[in-house]
Symmetry: C2
Subunit: 207 residues, 2 copies
C-alpha cells in the first residue's frame, strides 16, 4: 500500500473530507455535523453518527456558554489534557478535573461512592457558569441529575459521553430525561477522547 504524499497542514482537512464522503447524507445541522465529524475523526468509529444525540438546543446553549467564558468540569484527566485550553482560555474559561484531589478520594471512600460522583458535588462550589464534559463515569451523570433536580447546580449544558458496561446505558437514558441541554452518545460508547473532541469542535466553531 502506498503512502499518500500530503503536507502536515493538510492532513486534518483531508481526513474530514474522507469522513464526510464515507458518511454520505446525514440529517444533522451544520454545527451538529462538525461535532459528529470530530468524534469520528478521533476514533475512526462511524457509530458516533448514529449514537450522538443533541437535546434541548444543546449546541447553541453550550457554545454560547463557552463563548461567554464558562468553565468546564470533567471526570477525566485525559479529557482535560485533550481539550484545547489555549482556545478555552482565550474565551475566559478553564477546565477543572477534581478526580485526583485527595479530599475527593477521602470523601468517596468514606461514603463508598465513586470519586466521579464526589467531583460533581465539588463542582457545585464553583462560582461560574459550568459545562460538564463526562467521558468516563456514568455515576457522574447520575449525580449531576440529582444535584440539578435538588436545585444545587444549573449547568449550561452537558457533554455526556461516558464509556463502559455497568450502568452506562442507563445513566445516559436518565440524564436524557432531564431538560438540560446535552450532547449524549447513546449506548455504551464514549470516552475521554470523545468528550474532548465534542468540546473542541464547539471551541473551533467559536474561535
Amino acid at each position: 500500500m502506498k503512502i499518500e504524499n500530503i503536507k502536515p497542514a493538510d492532513i486534518e482537512k483531508r481526513s474530514m473530507e474522507i469522513i464526510k464522503e464515507t458518511l454520505g447524507d446525514v440529517c444533522f445541522t451544520p454545527e451538529e455535523e462538525k461535532i459528529v465529524l470530530r468524534a469520528i475523526h478521533t476514533s475512526a468509529d462511524f457509530d458516533y453518527a448514529e449514537n450522538l444525540c443533541f437535546l434541548n438546543d444543546a449546541v447553541h446553549k453550550i457554545s454560547s456558554a463557552l463563548a461567554n467564558g464558562a468553565d468546564i468540569v470533567t471526570d477525566t484527566n485525559m479529557a482535560k489534557t485533550g481539550i484545547n485550553k489555549k482556545k478555552l482560555e482565550s474565551l475566559g474559561g478553564r477546565v477543572h478535573c477534581f478526580m485526583a484531589d485527595e479530599d475527593v478520594a477521602q470523601e468517596a471512600a468514606k461514603r463508598d461512592i465513586t470519586r466521579a460522583a464526589v467531583c460533581m458535588e465539588k463542582a457545585c462550589g464553583l462560582k461560574k457558569e459550568i459545562v460538564f464534559a463526562i467521558g468516563n463515569a456514568p455515576t457522574a451523570l447520575l449525580r449531576i441529575k440529582e444535584l440539578y433536580e435538588a436545585g444545587e447546580i444549573n449547568p449550561a449544558g452537558i457533554v455526556g459521553v461516558p464509556v463502559g458496561f455497568v450502568n452506562v446505558i442507563e445513566a445516559k437514558e436518565q440524564i436524557m430525561n432531564t431538560d438540560l441541554p446535552q450532547i449524549v452518545a447513546r449506548g455504551r460508547k464514549g470516552g475521554s477522547n470523545i468528550a474532548a473532541a465534542v468540546i473542541n469542535a464547539m471551541l473551533y466553531m467559536i474561535c
Copy 2:
C-alpha cells in the same frame, strides 16, 4: 432502565466479566486477552478483538522491558496522561511526550514534516531502553521504521495504534513488515485511549 447497585470497587471487575461474556471464545493467549479486554473496556468497541495484532513476541518483549525500567515515548499528551505513571515509575520508567516542545515545532515547520516525526528523532537521544506508544500519528510509525532500519534506534517494542484516515492503514502495514515486537491495531482505529489502555494492561500484569 434500572441502575445496578454496585460498589465502586467492583465496577471494573463486573465490566471485564461482561466484556468476556460478550466476546465468547477467543484465540488469544491469556496475556493478549488481558490487553484486548482493556482496549474494549476503554472504548466499548469490540472491533479491538478483531484488529489487535501481536507480533514478534510483543507482549513478552514489551512487558519485560517495562519490568526492567524502560521509558515510554508517546506522540500524544492524552496517552501520557492516561498511562499509569505510579506503576511505571515504581518499575523505574518514565513517559516522554515531546509534542508540545518548542524545538520540535520549529524543526517540523522548517522541514515541513509532522511534529510527531520529529518527536521520534528526539527519542533517539534518550539513553534508556524505549517502548513507543503511538496513539495518534501514522507519521510517527513511518519515522520509527526509517530510524530503526538506519540503525539509529532499537526500541524494545511498539504499541502502534494511531487513529485516522490519511496513511494510517498504510503506516501500520509498513511497521508490521519489520521484525520489531509490536502490538498494532490494524485498520483505521486506535487512539490515545487505546495506546494508554494497552500499556496499562501490561503494567497491571507486572505490578
